[in-house]
Symmetry: C2
Subunit: 247 residues, 2 copies
C-alpha cells in the first residue's frame, strides 16, 4: 500500500511539472528511441541531484516519467550505467573548450577566462551534480577508470592553460598544480549550492568567479586593473555591469 501511494503520488506530481515527459498520457508512444533514452538519463540526473544516487530507486526515476521499472531497464542496462551516462554527459561538456584548437590571437588569460565561464555553465547544468559527486558513488572499476581519465584530461587542460599564461606573461602563479586544484574546486563546488531560478544566473556567477580568480583579494592599484576586471566588454552579463569600486 505504501508503494502504491508513493507511486501514484509521484505520478501526479510529475504530471503537474512542466518538464515534459515523452510518455504523455498512455498512448501515442511511438517516438524515437533515442529521445526516450535521453529523457531517462535526464530524469535520472535530476533525481540524483535532488535526492542523491543512493536514495534514488529505479522506481523513483520510473515514476517521474509515468513509467514502470522494466521500462527503464529497456533503455539502460543497469543503475550504474545510468549514473555513468549522467557523469559522462557533464564531463564531455566541460571538456569541450579544451579540445577545440587554441585561438592564436588572444592571450592565454583571455582563453583561460573563457574556459572558466564555460566550466561554470557546465557545472550548473543538471549533469553537473552527478559529475562532481562521481568519485564517491560506487562506480565499477572500468567505469571509474573512464571517469578518472576524463577528469585528468580536464585537470591537464587547466594546467596547460595556466602554463601558457605564465609563458606569455598574462598569468602569474608559482604553483600551477595547486592553482589548478583551487580553481577546479571552486568551480565544482558550484554544483553544491547552485539552484535554477536563483537570483544569479550561471553566467553571472561565472563572471564573478572570473573577476575573483583574476584579481585576487589583495588590493591592486587602479592602473593595473583594467584588463582583468572587464576582460570581456563586448557582451556584458545581463544585470551586473561589472563596476568595480576602487579603494
Amino acid at each position: 500500500m505504501s508503494k502504491a501511494d508513493k507511486t501514484s503520488a509521484a505520478r501526479m506530481e510529475s504530471d503537474d511539472t512542466s518538464s515534459a515527459s515523452p510518455w504523455p498520457a498512455r498512448n501515442a508512444r511511438h517516438q524515437d528511441r533515442h529521445v526516450k533514452r535521453e529523457a531517462v538519463i535526464r530524469a535520472a540526473a535530476r533525481a540524483f541531484n535532488a535526492r542523491g544516487y543512493y536514495n534514488t530507486s529505479i522506481d523513483d526515476i520510473a515514476a517521474a516519467l509515468n513509467v514502470t521499472k522494466p521500462t527503464i531497464y529497456y533503455y539502460v542496462a543497469n543503475k550504474e550505467q545510468l549514473l555513468l551516462q549522467c557523469i559522462l554527459a557533464g564531463l564531455e561538456r566541460v571538456l569541450e573548450p579544451f579540445r577545440k584548437p587554441r585561438q592564436p590571437g588572444r592571450c592565454a588569460r583571455e582563453q583561460f577566462n573563457d574556459m572558466i565561464r564555460h566550466y561554470a555553465q557546465a557545472i550548473a547544468s543538471e549533469y553537473g551534480g552527478c559529475m562532481v559527486r562521481a568519485q564517491d558513488l560506487g562506480l565499477g572499476p572500468e567505469s571509474m577508470a573512464h571517469v578518472k581519465q576524463l577528469k585528468s584530461e580536464i585537470d591537464q587542460g587547466i594546467r596547460r592553460l595556466l602554463q601558457d599564461g605564465v609563458r606569455d606573461g598574462s598569468i602569474a602563479t608559482d604553483d600551477v598544480k595547486m592553482t589548478a586544484f583551487a580553481l577546479a574546486g571552486a568551480l565544482n563546488w558550484i554544483a553544491h549550492w547552485y539552484r535554477e531560478n536563483q537570483s544569479m544566473s550561471a553566467a553571472e556567477i561565472a563572471e564573478a568567479f572570473v573577476r575573483f580568480f583574476n584579481l585576487g583579494l589583495a588590493p591592486r592599484n587602479a592602473a593595473a586593473r583594467s584588463p582583468a576586471a572587464t576582460p570581456r566588454r563586448r557582451r556584458a552579463p545581463r544585470s551586473r555591469p561589472a563596476a568595480r569600486s576602487r579603494p
Copy 2:
C-alpha cells in the same frame, strides 16, 4: 563464505595497520568507554572516506576494529548517528577560528589568511571528507538542519571576514557572497584529492591557496608581490596595505 573471507581479510589488514585499535587482542578490555566510542567514530570516518557512506556496512566498520556489529551499536545508536558525529567533528574544527574573538592588532586579510590555513588543515583531516559530502548523504531532517546551521555559520564567518577586509582596505572584492562561495569551494574540494603521505603537506597546500587567493592570476608588478605572498608580518599596514610602488 564470501562473508567469512571478507571479514577475516579485513581483520588481518587491520591487525597490520598501526592505527591502533582499543581492542588489541581479546583481553584487557577495560578501557574507557569514551575512548572506544571515539575509536568507533574514527574508524567510521576512515571507512566512509575510503569506500563511501553507502558502500560501507556496519560490519565493515566492526571488522576494521576486530569487533562485531552489535558492539558498534553498543556505542552508537544507528548508522546515521555515526555519520553525524563524523560530520560534526569536522565542522566544529572548521568553526574554531570564527568563534574565537577577533585580534584587534591585525588587519582583516591577515586574519582571513589564518582562517584559510586552519580551514585547509581541518578539511585535510579524516573528518573532512564526511563533512564535505554531508549534504548528499541521507541525513534525517533534524540532523540535516543541525549540519546546515553550522555550515551557514561558516559561510557567514567567511563573509564577515571579507567585509571587514573591504572596510579596512586590506581586501578588495565587489561580490562578497560569490567570493565566499569560491573560497569555500576551493577549500572543501581539497577533501576530494588530498591523501595523507602525499608530496605536499596540508600546511603547504594551505600556503599555496593563500597565495593564490591573495594575488590572483593577473600579474602584479614585482614590487607589489612580496607583501601579499607572505602576508604574515607582525604588523600590517593599517588602512591601506603597503602602498604599491608602480613602474
